[in-house]
C-alpha cells in the first residue's frame, strides 16, 4: 500500500477501531444488566438515522455541537485548552434573546442581526481569557472555567429577571417570529446552513490564510514561530476570538433555530453541557472543523437515538448515558493519544 494512502487512512482506521472498541464496551455493560445489546444498538442507529424524522432530529441535536467543537479545536490548533465554550455559548444565547426577542426588525435582517449579535457577545466573553493569557500567562483552563460559571449565573439572572417572559417564570422571552430561522422539519431549522458555512470558513481561515497559518505555526512549534516572526499574541487572540464567535453561534442556534421553545429556559436546561460536549466532539473529529461536523452528526445521533434504546428495549436512561459516554471516550482516545505524543515531543 502506498505511503500516501496509509498516511491518510491511518486516522480513519484509528477512529474505526475506536468505534468498535466503544460499541463492544457498551455491549458488555448492557449484557451485565441483562439487556440485548444487538437489539439495543439496532434501535439506537435505526432510531437516530433510520427515518427522515430521525435524521432531521439528530441533525438538530448536532447543530450546536458542530460549532462548540470548533471552539475547542481552534484552541488546540494554537496549543490552547479553551474550554470556555460553555460560558461563551450562554452569552451567545442571551444575545440572541435580546435582539431576537425584544427588538423589532424587518423579517429579512432580524435573524441575521440577532445571530451576529449573539456571536459577538460570545467573542467578547472569550476576550478576558485571551487577554489574561497574553498579558499575564494565566492558564486558560483556569480562566475559562471561572468565566463559565460567571456566565452561567449572569445569564440565569437575566433570564429570571429582566429577560423573563411575562407570566411564564420558567423561561426567557421567546424569539419573535421575524427572528426565527425557517423550520426544515422536526426541530431542525435553516440555521444549520449558517453553522456549516461557519465551519467551512474556519477551515479556510486555518489552512488558506496567513493569520491561520500563523495560528497553526504558533500551536505546532512556538520556538520556530517566534524565530519566523509570528506573533503568538495575535495567534492567541485570533484563536479565542474565533472560538468565541463559534460558541456564540451555538448559543444563538438554540434560541433562533430550535422549536418549540425558541428561547432559554430558566434552568438553562436546553443549553447545559453543549459546550463541554463540544470538547468530546472535537476530539472525535480530530480537532478539524470539518471533521467536527461529522463527529457532531454522530454525537447528535447518540443523543437522539438513546431514547429509542430506552423506549423499545427498556434500557434505563442512565445506562444509555453511560453507554454514550463509553463510546465517546473510546472515540476520543486516538486524538488524546496524539495530543500527549505531541506534548512529549515538544
Amino acid at each position: 500500500m502506498s505511503k500516501q494512502l496509509t498516511a491518510t487512512l491511518r486516522p480513519v482506521t484509528e477512529s474505526a477501531v475506536a468505534v468498535v472498541i466503544g460499541l463492544v464496551a457498551g455491549a458488555l455493560l448492557m449484557l451485565a444488566f441483562g439487556y440485548n445489546p444487538v437489539q439495543a444498538y439496532v434501535w439506537l442507529f435505526v432510531g437516530a438515522f433510520g427515518s427522515t424524522a430521525g435524521i432531521l432530529e439528530s441533525l438538530a441535536f448536532a447543530t450546536p455541537l458542530m460549532v462548540t467543537a470548533v471552539t475547542f479545536a481552534v484552541g488546540v490548533r494554537a496549543a490552547l485548552f479553551n474550554i470556555g465554550a460553555e460560558g461563551q455559548m450562554y452569552l451567545g444565547a442571551i444575545g440572541a434573546v435580546i435582539v431576537g426577542g425584544t427588538m423589532l426588525l424587518p423579517a429579512g435582517i432580524h435573524p441575521i442581526a440577532a445571530t451576529i449579535f449573539g456571536m459577538c457577545l460570545g467573542a467578547l466573553w472569550a476576550l478576558p481569557a485571551a487577554i489574561l493569557k497574553i498579558w499575564r500567562g494565566v492558564h486558560e483552563v483556569v480562566s475559562t472555567i471561572m468565566l463559565n460559571w460567571v456566565a452561567f449565573y449572569f445569564v440565569t439572572f437575566l433570564v429570571r429577571t429582566y429577560l423573563g417572559e411575562p407570566g411564564r417564570a420558567e423561561r426567557a422571552i421567546p424569539a419573535l417570529p421575524t427572528a426565527r430561522y425557517p423550520v426544515l422539519g422536526e426541530t431542525l431549522t435553516a440555521i444549520i446552513f449558517v453553522v456549516l458555512a461557519f465551519c467551512v470558513a474556519v477551515a479556510i481561515l486555518l489552512w488558506r490564510t496567513g493569520i491561520g497559518f500563523e495560528l497553526r505555526l504558533v500551536g505546532d512549534n512556538p520556538e520556530a514561530a517566534k524565530y519566523a516572526g509570528a506573533s503568538s499574541s495575535r495567534a492567541i487572540l485570533l484563536s479565542f476570538a474565533v472560538g468565541g464567535l463559534a460558541a456564540g453561534l451555538a448559543g444563538a442556534s438554540q434560541v433562533l433555530g430550535r422549536p418549540p421553545s425558541w428561547t432559554i429556559y430558566a434552568t438553562l436546561g436546553n443549553l447545559l453541557n453543549l459546550g463541554f460536549d463540544g470538547i468530546g466532539v472535537a476530539l472525535i473529529g480530530r480537532n478539524h472543523p470539518v471533521g467536527g461536523v461529522f463527529a457532531a452528526i454522530f454525537y447528535g445521533g447518540l443523543m437522539n437515538g438513546g431514547r429509542y434504546m430506552e423506549y423499545h428495549v427498556g434500557v434505563a436512561s442512565e445506562l444509555v448515558d453511560a453507554i454514550n459516554g463509553i463510546i465517546v471516550i473510546a472515540l476520543a482516545m486516538p486524538e488524546i493519544v496524539a495530543i500527549i505524543r505531541r506534548r512529549r515531543e515538544s
Binding site: L9, V20, V42, A53, E57, G167, A169, S261, A266, D321
Partner: protein, 418 residues
C-alpha cells in the same frame, strides 16, 4: 493492515446480526401507555414517581404495558412525545409536568388519532388532549393550617415553605399554604379566645418564610433553604419542590441528631406522594397530589372508550381536588395524608425493595407505622380537629381557598400574607 481487516470483519458481523434481528422481529406487544416524565426524572419519591405508580396500577387493572421515557433536558420533550405517538401500539401518551405543556399540545395536534393526557399542563383546545389539573391550593391550605397550629402548640414563631421553579402551578401551593396558616390562627383565636402564642405575635406578613429555589432537581438547594428557615425558628417547612424534600429531610435530621430527638418538632411536610415514611415522626403530614390517580383515570377513560367525550365535555381540563368528580365519576385528587394512606405507600416501598434488592424503607414497616402513630398521638387532638373543620369548610365552599394563577392575584395576596 491487520487493523483494517479486523474492522471489516466486525462491521460485516454487526451487519449480519442486525439483518438477522430485523428479519425476526419480536412478538408485538400488548396495548401500551407511554409516560413521558419531566427533567428530574424518577426517584424523586413524589411527582414523577407518582406518575409511574399510576401507570403501574393501570397496567395491573387494565392489562396494558407501560413504557417510560425520561426527559433529560427540555430539548427531549418533543422527541420523547413523538417517539411515543408514532408507536402504533400506544393507546395513551401521558406528559407529566407543567413544562411539557407546549410540547404536549404541539404533538397532540400533530397526531389527531392518538390520545394525549397531561398532568399540570395548561394548553387546552385539542380534541384529543386532556389536561389533568389539581386543586393544590386546597391541600396546601390544610397543611398550612396544620403547620401554623403546630407552631402555636410548640411555641415557634414561624413556619416555612421551600418551592422549586416559580411557575404558575406553584403559586397555587404558595398562596394556599399562606392562606391556610392565616385561617388556622383566626380559628385558634375563635376557639381559645386568645391570639396564638409566639406565632400570633409575629406580624402576619412575616409568619411564613418562603423561597423559590429555582430548581426541581438540586437537592442541596433544598437543604440550604430549609436549614436557614429552621435556624429562624420555623416549626415546619413545606416541600413544594419534588425531590428537594430529601434536602429538607437532611436539615431536619441534622437537628434531630444534634438534639437527640425521637420525633419532631422540627417537622417537614411532604408533597405529591405520601412522604410520611421517609423519616417517621419528623414528617408532620404530606399534601398528597394524586398524580397516580390522574394517570390511572386517563387510562381508564381510554379503555372504556369515553376519552374524547370527556375531553369535549370538560373543554379539555379535568380538575381533581377535594370532593371533586369528573364525567360523573367521583375523583378525589388532593388529600392530606392519614395513617390509612401510610399502609399503601409502605407497601410500595416493600415492593421496591423486593424488586431491586436495595433498602428503600428506613426501618421495618411495623416500626414506621409505630413511630408515625406515636407522633400523631403526641400532636394534640384539637389540631387534627381543626384540619377536619377546614376540610369540611372547603368541601362546602369550593371557592373558599384563593386560587392564584396570575401574577396580579399572587401579588395581591403577597401584599397581605407575606
Amino acid at each position: 493492515m491487520q487493523a483494517i481487516l479486523i474492522v471489516v470483519i466486525v462491521i460485516v458481523a454487526a451487519a449480519g446480526a442486525a439483518a438477522w434481528y430485523l428479519a425476526n422481529p419480536p412478538a408485538p406487544a400488548l396495548k401500551k401507555i407511554a409516560v413521558v416524565s419531566d427533567i428530574g426524572g424518577r426517584g424523586d419519591l413524589s411527582f414523577n414517581d407518582m406518575g409511574y405508580k399510576g401507570g403501574a396500577e393501570a397496567e395491573k387493572a387494565f392489562g396494558v404495558t407501560m413504557v417510560e421515557l425520561v426527559s433529560k433536558t427540555e430539548a427531549d420533550y418533543v422527541p420523547n412525545l413523538e417517539t411515543a405517538a408514532k408507536d402504533p401500539d400506544v393507546i395513551l401518551v401521558v406528559g407529566i409536568g407543567f413544562l411539557l405543556s407546549d410540547a404536549l399540545n404541539r404533538t397532540a395536534w400533530k397526531y389527531p388519532d392518538k390520545n394525549f393526557a397531561g398532568i399540570d399542563t395548561f394548553l387546552g383546545g385539542a380534541p384529543n388532549l386532556l389536561n389533568i389539573v389539581f386543586e393544590e391550593h386546597k391541600g396546601s391550605a390544610i397543611v398550612g393550617a396544620l403547620a401554623a397550629l403546630a407552631a402555636a402548640q410548640y411555641g415557634y414563631s414561624h413556619i416555612g415553605v421551600v418551592l422549586g421553579i416559580e411557575i404558575p402551578t406553584l403559586w397555587k401551593f404558595e398562596i394556599g399554604y399562606k392562606w391556610g396558616a392565616d385561617w388556622a390562627l383566626k380559628w385558634y383565636q375563635n376557639k381559645f379566645g386568645k391570639s396564638a402564642p409566639v406565632i400570633g405575635d409575629t406580624p402576619v406578613k412575616d409568619r411564613v418564610l418562603w423561597t423559590y429555589t429555582g430548581t426541581f432537581s438540586d437537592i442541596t438547594k433544598g437543604y440550604e433553604a430549609a436549614k436557614a428557615m429552621y435556624a429562624q425558628d420555623a416549626v415546619a417547612v413545606y416541600n413544594v419542590a419534588g425531590p428537594l424534600g430529601l434536602g429538607l429531610n437532611q436539615a431536619v435530621q441534622e437537628i434531630a441528631t444534634s438534639k437527640n430527638l425521637a420525633m419532631g418538632p422540627p417537622f417537614w411536610i411532604g408533597v405529591d406522594a405520601n412522604q410520611d415514611w421517609i423519616n417517621p415522626g419528623f414528617v408532620l403530614a404530606s399534601m398528597m397530589k394524586r398524580v397516580d390517580k390522574g394517570v390511572y383515570f386517563a387510562t381508564q377513560l381510554v379503555i372504556e372508550g369515553k376519552f374524547r367525550q370527556v375531553v369535549a365535555d370538560t373543554s379539555g381540563f379535568a380538575t381533581l381536588g377535594i370532593g371533586t368528580s369528573v364525567a360523573g365519576i367521583a375523583m378525589t385528587g388532593i388529600s392530606v395524608s392519614t395513617l390509612a394512606d401510610l399502609d399503601e405507600f409502605i407497601q410500595m416501598g416493600v415492593e421496591a425493595e423486593q424488586l431491586t434488592g436495595k433498602k428503600v424503607l428506613p426501618m421495618a414497616p411495623e416500626d414506621i407505622k409505630a413511630k408515625v402513630t406515636a407522633m400523631r398521638n403526641a400532636v394534640p387532638s384539637w389540631i387534627w380537629d381543626a384540619e377536619k373543620d377546614l376540610e369540611t369548610a372547603i368541601s362546602n365552599d369550593p371557592s373558599l381557598v384563593p386560587l392564584a394563577t396570575t401574577k396580579d392575584v399572587v401579588d395581591q395576596w403577597r401584599a397581605t400574607l407575606g
